[in-house]
Structures are given as C-alpha cells and as structure tokens.
C-alpha cells in the first residue's frame, strides 16, 4: 500500500513539473517529451534516477524520465557485455519492447479505428 502512495506522489510530482513547464514556459508538448527523456538519460547517467526508482517504483519508471533512465542503463549494460558496440545498441535494445509496442499497437490502432472529430 505504501508503494502505491509513493508511486502516486513521485509520478504525480514529475507530471506536475511538466505542467509547470507548459503553463509558464510555453514549451510545446513535443519539446517537453524530448526534454523529459533527455533529462532522464542525464539523471540515469549521473546515477540519480535509480534511487528514485527504488523508492517510488512505477512512479519513477512510468513517466518518460524513466524511459530516458532506461536508455542510459541499457547503454552501460550493453557496453559491459559487448564493448564499444554497446554504445550504439544499448539504448534501443533496452527500450526496444516499449518502442516496439508503441509502433505495433500504434499501427494496428491507426489501421482499425476511424479518425474522429472533436466535439
């Protein structure tokens, strides 16, 4: 139960930061997504994100910063196993399932559903 509360608080807090950026900096949503992923990579690289994941679980992995941290983590792990090639392969292979899911489910959804109006 405690874990749910932590996930809610940390996850909510990360999203609230995003909202502050939208409201006060006028950054477009695409730029916010990019900044969060890059910030996640940076925090992961500095070893600051793993403690947050240990603390808040999905509250830290579900936001896109978690996706960025995963890219960083995958990169060092791949370097450990494959050496230099890991620099290029690590990020994508760690994030592969998420990106693959987004591509495949995105493709299927776009194929099956009809675009609709906003009312």
């Amino acid at each position: 139960m405690e874990m749910y509360l932590k996930a809610f608080l940390i996850g909510g807090l990360i999203c609230a930061v995003g909202q502050v950026l939208i409201d006060y900096t006028g950054l477009t949503p695409a730029r916010i997504l990019v900044s969060f992923v890059v910030a996640g990579v940076a925090l992961g690289a500095l070893g600051l994100y793993q403690p947050l994941i240990d603390f808040a679980g999905a509250g830290a992995t579900v936001p896109l910063t978690g996706f960025g941290a995963l890219l960083a983590k995958g990169t060092v792990e791949a370097i450990r196993e494959d050496g230099m090639l890991g620099i290029l392969s690590g990020g994508l292979s760690a994030a592969g399932a998420g990106i693959g899911a987004a591509v495949v489910f995105g493709f299927l959804t776009a194929l099956i559903f009809k675009p609709g109006d906003k009312m």
Binding site: I22, G26, P29, P115, G116, D117, K118, M119
Partner: protein, 341 residues
C-alpha cells in the same frame, strides 16, 4: 464610377447590392447563439465525405449553390467568383467551385477572405467589369486543426487565448444596385506585424491590422464610430477585441457599445469551450452571410462596418520562429444607397 477618397478608401458611388447570400455550418455552430440564422446546417461534420478536406469543399460548394438558389440565379449568371480558404493552395475553394464553371479568382487572405472577396466583388460590379460577382469562403475545424496544430486524437491542452476554428462557409452575390444591403465603401488593409509569435493568440496578432484599417477609414471618410450602428470584426475573439478597443482609443476613437466580433457572436463562450472565441474564414463568412446581411436587408441595422481580419502565417513560418503578420479589409455595408436618405 468608384472614387478614391483619402489614401486608402474607395467609395462605390453606384452602390452595388448584395443580391443574395447563404451560409452553411455544422453541429457546434448550430448550437451557438446564432444557430437559427444559418441557411444550411449539417449535423455531420464530415458532410458525408471521406476526408475533412473534401468535407470543407462540399461545404463551400453548398454555400455557393444555396446563394444562387436563394437569388433565383444559376452559375451562368455570375461573371466572376472570388474565393479562398485556409488550406494549402486553397484547395477547399478550387475543389468546391470546380464544377460550377464560374470564372475563378483564387484568394488567399486567411480569415480576412470574406471581406477581401466582398470588396473585390463590389469593385468589379461598381466598375462595370461584372454584372454579378460572387465572394465565397470556408473553414473547417478538423482540416485546419490537422494542418496548423495537432492531430485530432492527440492529447493536447488548449491555452485560454486560443480560438476555435469555425466549421462553416458563406457566399454572397454582388450585383447592380437593387435592394439593400448596399456596398458603399471598401478599404483594403496593409500587412501589419507587431511581433506576436504565439500561434495560440491570433486575436492579438490581428488586432493591430484591424485598428490600422479602421482608423484610416475614419480619417478618409471623415466619419467616426458614432456614424455606424455596428462595427464588426471577423475573428479577433475576446483578446483581440479588447486590444482593438485599446489601440483605437489611443487614436481617439471609441468603439464602446458599437463593436462586436463574429468570433464572439457565433459561439457561447461560457458553455461551448471554445477558448477566446471562433476563428477561421468561415467564422466571419457564416456570420455575415446570415444574421448580419439579413438584418441590414430588413433595416434592423443601417450602417455596418465589416472588417474581417486575417493572420497571414503558415505552419512553416511559425516553425521558423517568424512573427504572425495580420491584415484587415473593410467593407462599409448600408441599408441606404449612396446619395439616398
């Protein structure tokens, strides 16, 4: 003959009439305060078509046909049509008017297109270049949204200053002096740019253009806001209307109680969740070609200044960080012909 008065204004001495006009809208607009005024309401925003672009063309075609029908005219009776819209290369107009066989001038004036087309139609009839000329334009929420903003299913938030593109079209046929409404003056605007870069605040980008056109018109004609019952802008919305009032007050003109904006009239801002109001070519077109022209014809409105405002940017220029240039064209529409009363 048309007479140039002052630096920017042309007086139409033969007072061409708007002989027929029609408006087409969809669901959301029909639920607004002017819902009962429109000629054609289609609850299906796709207008029975497969794409939003086709829907918009269909809408513009319907407006043109309806205006012809209401005037007891056929396409062959129209010498020229001036039409345009917001989509790249004005495809709604070209595909919508393709089948009519009317000689076609394609216009790009963004949301100022209705005033631009009406002004040109008036000048052509006044100058005896045409017996009858037509102005038509349209906009569609969905086709505009996917060209200028985000896909419709995308989860984005609208800022309070953003405006809602009207799904609507309007067409007006101008002919020799007959019955009211009469076109009395036109004042073509210049491109004004005060450095606004926010795509979600078009009203602010266009207000300086409207202020410039109005003040030049008042100067050229030696009139003031008090000479008119209604000073109507196209789609400045809430923010732009407030700015227009302020800009003109600095120039010594008080619009209080006389100004209204098509973007504020077409929707119920409190309940329809449209941000700062309606926008798009179809906004001023559908409001003018329904409630406004009808009320001038009936004499409920006597002297009206109609100035549709346009924001002349493209998605490319916005991405490149350019500011948004605005323009406003004015047409003075009256229930009395020149030299009347």
């Amino acid at each position: 003959m048309p007479a140039r008065i002052g630096k920017y204004t042309t007086r139409l001495d033969r007072s061409p009439s708007v002989v027929s006009f029609a408006s087409v809208v969809s669901k959301k607009e029909s639920e607004g305060p002017l819902g009962a005024c429109f000629d054609v309401v289609n609850q299906d925003t796709a207008f029975g078509e497969k794409t939003w672009e086709k829907a918009e063309s269909r809408m513009q075609e319907t407006a043109v046909q309806k205006a012809l029908e209401k005037g007891g005219l056929s396409a062959g009776d129209i010498d020229y049509i001036f039409a345009g819209d917001l989509l790249n290369q004005c495809i709604s107009s070209t595909y919508g008017i393709r089948a009519t066989g009317i000689p076609f001038f394609g216009l790009f004036g963004a949301c100022s297109t209705m005033a631009e087309g009406l002004a040109l139609s008036g000048l052509f009839v006044e100058g005896k270049l045409a017996e009858r000329a037509m102005a038509a334009t349209s906009s569609h929420f969905c086709s505009a949204e996917r060209q200028f903003r985000f896909p419709l299913e995308y989860g984005g938030q609208r800022t309070p200053t953003s405006q809602w593109t009207v799904t609507g079209a309007g067409a007006a046929i101008v002919g020799e002096k007959g019955q009211p409404p009469y076109l009395r003056h036109v004042c073509i605007g210049t491109i004004e740019d005060m450095g606004v870069t926010d795509m979600n605040n078009m009203g602010a980008a266009m207000a300086p253009a409207a202020a410039a056109t109005f003040s030049r018109f008042f100067e050229d004609t030696h009139t003031s806001p008090e000479n008119y019952d209604l000073i109507l802008t196209g789609d400045l919305g809430k923010v732009g209307s407030e700015l227009l009032g302020k800009l003109l007050r600095e120039k010594g003109y008080n619009l209080e109680g006389r100004h209204n904006d098509c973007g504020l009239m077409i929707y119920d801002l409190e309940h329809q969740d449209v941000g700062a109001g309606g926008s798009g070519c179809g906004c001023s077109a559908s409001v003018l070609c329904s409630a406004i022209l009808t009320r001038i014809r009936e004499g409920a409105l006597r002297e009206v200044l109609f100035a549709a405002t346009g924001a002349l940017m493209s998605p490319t220029s916005v991405q490149q960080g350019e500011s948004i240039p605005g323009i406003a064209h004015l047409v003075h529409i009256s229930s009395q012909p020149e030299g009347g009363c």
